[in-house]
Symmetry: C2
Subunit: 518 residues, 2 copies
């Protein structure tokens, strides 16, 4: 039987730490469901100590996505402290297969400058906290942060302490993305050779030099049997190893990775990539490997000829293997509510209650303007509705826009609010600016717009425009999403979506604690 390389997805933890990529619990749950569908082995669902919302999201995922023995392992991150570990356990304990992942830095640089702890203090803390976590949960992962720059002898010592205290997986992070494949492969081999005990070794590589996937694969070649990675390579700074690239490299190069297997199915990688892109506002560049829009396209003639003559001459991966064909037409303006819900279900999107009602209303509005609604369009519509976190404080009732080169752009909005309506006008340097001013005026919520991303869902000037907009307000940063046939309307909807999130956060008085990652 083939040796399994476990795929540990950290989109919801390290990926979510990307600036402006923070998601609501409903959005995280949707992504966790998609990850379960493609059969990742472990879902790192969050960092419960970061905020009550993070804890709630992890708990919901444990209950709804991790319920059975056939479900993925649901993991939560915790610093090496009893308080963090307690919160992590509260998050994951409802899962059939829970895991706690705790970490502490082992490089001199981090111990001195960040932890201000001695080597002996670090060893004692690791022993005590891994043992404490193990007293709660049978499946414990330990990460020595900045392992790549740690003194090897000290690193092995700490890892043996973790094993003796009950850790079952040892994750060796290249925290700063400094490694090259040869070094990182050796580091993994040395850990296996020098640490006594029964454990799975895991990779965790950052992409600062563009080498995260290569380093992860070098780890696998040298004995690692878990790879930590994220959809679209999301993560801090330049991100983590891209899940889709790691999976397709191992699958496509079975001759090289002989005797190794991955559980992840490839045929929904493209859809999962689109979902994560839409929910985080992090677009995938056209020439991104495996999931980029052009990953399988050929411009030059002979390559096309080659493809026609024999696909093997140029393409290693078939577009259909990763589900990257043009999204098929699924629904039209005459489709009913049942067909709509049914199609979402088939696509693996679980939307219920008020969110389903709201999504159906938006679907009908858009289907009226656009003859064909594709799968990708549906994804965008649902993403807008999920973004509001189920409850809509404000909704778009009417929007009027005027602009051009001769007049100052202006907007008038009428928003639904509870049973009533609020109305306001605004102007600006552009119509989007004007619409945002009008919405700020009507809602009394204003913020600074940071990232602003527009993409056409399917291509063509009559395609749906999907907008993701990051808004900073009183130290809170949220991402709003909107979709419409008109790009200014989509932007107004995205801004209102962000406003709804801000209102909800203020009502809860919640401040997310700023804490560390691996």
């Amino acid at each position: 039987m083939a040796d399994l390389v476990r795929i540990f997805d950290t989109t919801l933890r390290d990926g979510e730490q990307s600036p402006g990529a923070s998601m609501t619990s409903a959005e995280k749950l949707e992504i966790a469901r998609a990850l379960a569908r493609i059969r990742v082995d472990v879902i790192e669902a969050g960092f419960p100590a970061a905020s009550p919302d993070d804890l709630a999201a992890v708990r919901t995922i444990a209950e709804q996505v991790g319920a059975t023995e056939a479900s993925p392992i649901i993991c939560a991150l915790a610093r090496a402290s009893a308080a963090d570990i307690d919160l992590a356990w509260m998050g994951v304990h409802a899962a059939a297969r829970p895991r706690i992942h705790t970490f502490l830095a082992t490089s001199d640089l981090h111990m001195q400058h960040k932890l201000r702890m001695t080597r002996d203090e670090v060893k004692a803390r690791v022993g005590a906290m891994v043992a404490y976590a193990r007293s709660l949960c049978d499946d414990i992962e330990f990460s020595p942060e900045d392992a790549g720059r740690s003194d090897p002898a000290f690193l092995y010592e700490v890892l043996e302490i973790a094993i003796a205290a009950g850790a079952t997986t040892l994750n060796i992070p290249d925290t700063v993305g400094f490694a090259v494949p040869e070094d990182y492969g050796k580091l993994i081999a040395y850990v296996i050779a020098n640490v006594t005990g029964d454990f799975v070794v895991s990779t965790h590589c950052h992409d600062d030099l563009g080498l995260a996937v290569a380093n992860s694969l070098a780890g696998v070649s040298h004995g690692a049997r878990q790879v930590e990675c994220a959809i679209n390579g999301l993560g801090e700074r330049a991100g983590n190893a891209a899940l889709e690239e790691v999976v397709m490299a191992i699958r496509t190069r079975g001759d090289y990775f002989e005797g190794l297997a991955v559980n992840v199915k490839s045929d929904e990688l493209a859809r999962t990539s689109r979902m994560v892109s839409r929910l985080t506002g992090y677009h995938v560049q056209f020439n991104k490997a495996v999931v980029g829009r052009n990953a399988f396209a050929h411009e030059a003639g002979i390559h096309q000829h080659g493809v026609l003559a024999d696909r093997e001459t140029y393409e290693v991966i078939d577009a259909s293997e990763v589900g990257q064909e043009a999204a098929q037409i699924v629904l039209g303006k005459h489709s009913g509510r049942h067909a709509f819900a049914d199609t979402l279900e088939k696509m693996g999107m679980h939307v219920q209650g008020d969110a389903l009602n709201a999504a159906f209303v938006r679907f009908k509005e858009l289907a009226d303007k656009k003859i064909e609604i594709t799968e990708a369009d549906l994804e965008a519509i649902v993403a807008e509705e999920l973004g509001a976190g189920i409850v809509h404080r404000y909704s778009v009732h009417e929007l009027e826009l005027h602009g051009g080169t001769a007049t100052k752009p202006s907007a008038r909005v009428v928003l639904g609010f509870g049973d009533g309506k609020v109305e306001a006008t605004g102007s600006g340097d552009g119509m989007i600016d004007a619409a945002i001013a009008a919405i700020s005026e009507a809602t009394g919520v204003s913020g600074t717009v940071g990232n602003f991303q527009v993409s056409s869902v399917t291509g063509g000037s009559d395609a749906l425009g999907a907008v993701a907009i990051t808004v900073d307000s009183d130290g809170r940063k949220v991402t709003g999403r909107g979709v419409a046939t008109d790009v200014v309307e989509a932007s107004a909807r995205a801004y209102l979506n962000a406003v709804n999130k801000l209102v909800r956060l203020r009502e809860r008085g919640e401040v997310r604690e700023k804490i560390e990652g691996v």
Copy 2:
């Protein structure tokens, strides 16, 4: 003295083969100038046999960017035929240091299915054509296409024939992006061990499995002394190795790449990346290594703390090393023509005559609406003007837009055309759609809109919106660019920019020959 790893940039050849990334001669010249500024060793300027425009672009670059012995080598690609080689030589001969790069496939798969040639025929053709190229030019590069899947013994034989015929550089392409670093490193080592003669070995890796940079670096570790790469990793399908990642890996990991050096300066990598992104319409994802917007950003608190305490704890590369600080404010509405031209010159953007006039007019229009014009804004303004290919057939005179949820979006345009004006109205599902309909009506040129990309130049709702739009018309595909404070206006300008390009192509009756790459 350190051993030089030559950086061979193929942004203008392999990169330009990306669907919809085709550029005008003026745009290519601008990129070539930027490449010379960062000191790449070789610029592959194009594929002269592809079209008269490609030949003209290569020739202009050879004359204006390759004029002195201190300039980069200017290279042109040619299939292994006398006709192609003659055109390549016409393109590069004006350079102080010209190079001809010719290629022929050596894998059984390609020889049988694509070339329909026997091994003996391939050997004879390589010998004859490399000798012919060498009779014209002293610097000859030969690439055995699909080297990675070629029979090694046959590959070495063909390479020795090329050396005997006068080739000075042997480029070993992983045409299909199928290699893993260990294999590719061995391939390079075997070529060096088994091919007799005096030559430089070059890498050329595609990123289909996300391993292009790692494979290129493995090649360098095994003796390659030239790396073919492209800004932002542009290129067919998932693209080539990213120049900025290769350069920063070698520079940052001097301990690993001991005794090796690169000439490329890092401090304008970010600006060069932005320029290529804008001129090709290929956006860079936020989490792209080295040049992504977030490559140096930290969200999680302790990482921020770590950065403050000691930059070394988390960042391997300093943002300023690659010139990725926030673009500084450079000009305002009171800046005059001289200051404008002077600033462009300092930024390395060479714009003269009509294009400078047009760019200055646009600058004043935008400065009137926006108090501060940043470097990034200036780059966008100039990119729009360059895109029109100096001569503007049509220009935006007036634009009026109306839209919202209650009315069908509509647009009215008045375009300047020679000394006269044309006017038209249009409507659509969105205001962009309406503006495009009006422009199509006014100009009589219509096309299918494919890729449509909007980005804010600097962030914030009042930022300039930069739009890149790909238009297909009668089998021609062009990219138009526009910038404005209003996103719909920017889209209308981008579409008109594309229309101007189409008109120019039709006037020349030019059809680009579809041909192959490496």
